[in-house]
Symmetry: C2
Subunit: 320 residues, 2 copies
């Protein structure tokens, strides 16, 4: 992985991607004790940054291979990103999703034209199921994070952050990134090399594999495999490809509680007028509730997704 792959992905994405705005609020600044700049990838196509990786993968593979169709396993946002990219290319997409995914994510993925197959998150190995589907139906598997083209697509967020931070007069800051398998975090971290911006992964308590792995220097595994309200960013451990990149580039991880993530969802509603899912709000939560673990006059926060069911969102509003 290198910066040239990310720039190439940016060129392929340019005609279709949304350049999402960087928002702020004096109320959030006061809470955090420093400027808080929020990169709003929840406003990206399909409601999360994952469209970038999906499009990068589809647009980066040979046309004959792409024409046969693609396959993905995902807790939802990656599925939607791949599904919309496939639909825009007019090729088939099959998506394998956990049966406990939010109803909205399953519904949206189907409506985007993909075939959805559900599995039991605790009982089944999605990797085995995925490999079998790919083998039997001749589709190309698009991995959610351990795939260079996908990392390159997610990394384009970082290219925009560097430009937008500069326009805001911010040249030195931590860049807090909600982290699952590390595709977005590692991709962004590459684009920050040579700047005074530094990527730091953010995770929910109990699923802080990235933070523990960065501390120990090797890929740690979570005890539990599900059950966090931050379902979008729950993974077993950092990726094989993503972790060495994160270990080289990233600052220490930040960890917040599910309740803090829910409060951040409510504060983003109230102060920024945007819809975040809990997993997409953990970096904002870290900026607001872990200020003592952050240095500098400003902090940059990536808001990664907004695909949240109405009942969870309404519950979050009751926290403030």
């Amino acid at each position: 992985m290198n910066i040239e792959m990310i720039k190439a992905a940016a060129t392929r994405l340019a005609p279709v991607v949304r350049r999402t705005p960087m928002l702020s609020s004096p109320f959030l600044d006061e809470m955090a004790g420093r400027r808080v700049l929020v990169k709003t990838e929840n406003l990206q196509h399909t409601g999360s940054f994952k469209f970038r990786g999906g499009w990068s993968a589809l647009s980066g593979m040979p046309e004959a291979q792409r024409a046969k169709g693609v396959f993905a396993y995902s807790s939802g946002n990656h599925a939607q990103g791949v599904a919309m990219a496939a639909a825009k290319f007019g090729v088939p997409a099959v998506i394998l999703m956990p049966s406990d995914s939010p109803a909205l994510k399953i519904e949206n993925t189907k409506a985007l034209g993909a075939e959805v197959v559900t599995y039991d998150r605790l009982r089944d190995s999605r990797e085995e199921l995925g490999a079998r589907f790919a083998r039997e139906r001749g589709l190309t598997l698009v991995r959610p994070y351990d795939e260079p083209l996908v990392i390159a697509g997610q990394g384009t967020v970082g290219l925009e952050i560097v430009e937008q931070a500069k326009a805001e007069g911010v040249e030195k800051a931590d860049v807090l990134v909600p982290c699952g398998g590390g595709g977005l975090t590692s991709g962004i971290s590459i684009t920050l090399e040579g700047t005074d911006l530094r990527a730091r992964p953010c995770e929910p308590e109990g699923f802080d594999d990235a933070a523990r792995s960065l501390a120990s220097g090797k890929r740690e595994v979570n005890a539990a495999q599900g059950g966090s309200i931050c379902d979008a960013i729950v993974t077993n451990s950092p990726g094989e490809i993503t972790f060495p990149i994160m270990l080289k580039n990233c600052g220490a991880g930040l960890v917040v509680s599910d309740d803090e993530a829910m409060q951040a969802v409510a504060l983003a509603f109230q102060r920024l007028k945007i819809v975040l899912e809990p997993g997409g709000a953990v970096a904002l939560a870290a900026a607001l509730f872990r200020p003592e673990q952050i240095t500098g006059d400003a902090v940059i926060v990536v808001a990664t997704g907004g695909n949240v069911d109405a009942d969870v969102f309404s519950r979050s509003l009751a926290t403030i």
Copy 2:
């Protein structure tokens, strides 16, 4: 009023205003039967387009006059826009607000540094109270819509719409605008002169003074003065300055029910990941629920504000 005044306002606004994105969703396109492009002014500073008019007014008055401070009466969004503009200039702002304004709006206006004075919307004449405050305290009154500098500021939304629509390949379309006193609608309508885009005001049932006025050719008055969930855009009648501009430039008004506005709030949550207040969602509601009154392959919708209390927002989510 003319386009040069709006371009001058755009120059004054350039260093501080957010160029809000134009969003869309294939789900909303399918519902409406045509492309729906949503200009997201809820993402503007203070959560509504009103910051534009506030900044335009403050930046457009002589420095000595501005230094003494400003005064405004408003159901909330205009108040916040004027308050933040005054705070950025470091001058005093006094805001007269209806006592039944959403708690969040009163709280935010105070937190932005303004002095807030409340009045009874049904019993008191805000115009008389406003004139007295201005006289006794030496502040300049910033009217919410019947003020050329304010209309010029709101009109800058239209300059951006023309550019963004062109970038989306849309050259001919109705531009649906939530309409209270008509500052935003009239300002936008001026920027659309000479294009194939056409401004049309959108209002809630029972408060359709603009639609009836455009139909009759003279300024009509609403029977009721309050009680709509769309509180942000409830006014007695179109303005003296704004109405002749609207009559010259605008297409027929569109009217939606409070329930349809609430459904549009929920759909904007679900499909666009943005927070709208009911009054700020009436144009989206018109696009989705009055398709037979609209012509063309695409429609442009202005989403004007997102300052909504959590309980109203949660109620809206229960409608879909």
